[in-house]
Amino acid sequence: MKARTIKRHFREGFKNIARNGWMTVASVGAVTMTLLLVGAFLGLILNLNHMAEKIEDDVVIKVLIDLAADDEDVIALGKELEKVPGVENVIFSSKDEELNTLIDSMGEGGEVWELYEQENPLNHAYIIKATDPHDTDGIATEVAKLNAVDSVSYGQEVAQNLFKFTDYARTVGIILIAGLVLTAIFLISNTIKLTIMARSTEIGIMKLVGATNSFIRGPFFVEGLLLGVLGSIIPITVVLSGYKLIESSIGGISSIGFVEMLPFNPFAWQLAGIILIVGAGIGIWGSLMSVRKFLKV
């Protein structure tokens, strides 16, 4: 396409935007609302996913060994555990070590447990790490069947719940966003239909003298693109500044181990990019949809 032609399309496109006044404002508003939600949900879902994955990575299976088991049983079990498919490594932790870990994790209050050092009531344990965290559940069930195993525990539940919540948020988000995207497209295509009505004679003449369809579409493509881009300005600003704000306020209390957000750079910028692309896409789609009918002459 020639530079002159592109210039012409932009000139015409801008002219139409100005000509449509309030309808332009309405469709830009619809795009803005849509993109705000797209940004918020996307930011939330991706962060939750990130946290869930993080937790899951740290999940280990703790196999408590039967108190009645003797040393030979313990060694045999260790060998068997290594043979279970999906197991990455197996570490033995004696009951003394277990008690120390427990006391350490209790901090000040842990001193109470020191009384038990003489008569340790804990089990020896094996700590298993799965190659793929998603297999943890299956491995745990498998391991529970083995001899000399007293019980099996793993911190999978927290991760599971978080994943469940992410799934839920994703479904709600997709439905909401899809609805809003459709509304925005509808509004844009209606706005642009107004221009087309006013320009139908012009389009008719263009077709008659042999303008190609892509030439006729040009200004409408530009108009849609502009509506989409205008609609993404506010959402991008909100996402960038909002993310910064949340990140710094959560950063203060991030002693809660697993609350670790995706870093502002590059994540917030990527989010802004997605918003811009979605906005432009909505605009162009809505616009071209409304021209289609007029090109069939």
């Binding site: 020639k2 002159r4 032609t5 012409r8 004679t201 012009e202 008719g204 003449i205 263009m206 077709k207 008659l208 003298v209 042999g210 303008a211 190609t212 369809n213 030439f215 006729i216 002459v297």
Partner: protein, 228 residues
């Protein structure tokens, strides 16, 4: 040039406009299409610039089958055909010059060629000194001449006119006909649907009469043949 074989056209609402048209028009001919209203003249004309497609039959223009033309190729066909209507169809917000230049701009002609060519055709239709006027400042005849200029500005091989003098008084009609004759003399085929008995009987050309979707008469230097 234009070759129609057994052309039928039935519209979506069941109306049959053309009922087996067979005709051949050579390059450089001047043809009147006559017949009562609703006989199929407009359908005949619309077929040629492919506003409509035939339901059945073959239509060749320059040895190309138009009914098999892809949607994408239609613009190229139209660049070889100029179309003129009874109601001029000018863009009211553009000047005479801009209206004519528009036809070249939208097919991405270079600005230098546009300027040269537009002034050439405005000269041909006798409106060179009114190029800055707007359509509503012109008489009907002048407006029609602008639309003729627009139709021929990209040097089409065929010019199609659907009752071009329908809205004009007799004197102005003769002016328009002179322009058509001039265009025809330079080798352009002209196909003109008309209801004007005087024009057909005075400027003698080939006459094709259509009634009920059929060609009922086709003679060189023919008469209008209807009471008007």
């Amino acid at each position: 040039m234009i070759l129609m074989k057994d052309i039928y056209k039935t519209y979506g609402n069941g109306v049959t406009a053309l009922n087996g048209i067979n005709v051949e028009i050579e390059q450089g001919e001047f043809v009147y299409i006559v017949g009562p209203s609703g006989a199929g003249k407009s359908s005949f004309i619309k077929l040629i610039y492919r506003e409509i497609k035939p339901t059945r039959g073959s239509l060749q223009i320059n040895n190309r089958d138009i009914s098999e033309l892809k949607e994408k190729e239609v613009p190229m066909l139209r660049r070889n055909i100029g179309v003129i209507f009874q109601d001029f169809r000018l863009l009211p917000k553009l000047s005479v010059y801009e209206n004519v230049a528009f036809a070249l701009e939208v097919i991405e002609e270079s600005p230098r060629n546009i300027r040269k060519r537009v002034m050439e055709v405005l000269d041909l239709v006798g409106l060179k000194n009114k190029s800055r006027f707007f359509p509503n400042e012109l008489s009907g005849g002048e407006q029609q001449r602008v639309s003729i200029a627009r139709a021929i500005v990209n040097r089409p091989k065929i010019v199609i006119a659907d009752e071009p003098t329908g809205n004009l008084d007799p004197d102005t009609s003769w002016e328009i006909m002179r322009v058509f004759e001039e265009i025809n003399n330079s080798g352009t085929t002209i196909i003109m649907a008309t209801h004007s008995k005087e024009i057909v009987n005075t400027i003698k050309k080939r006459v094709i009469a259509i009634e009920d979707g059929l060609i009922v008469r086709d003679e060189q230097r023919g008469d209008y043949g209807y009471e008007s």
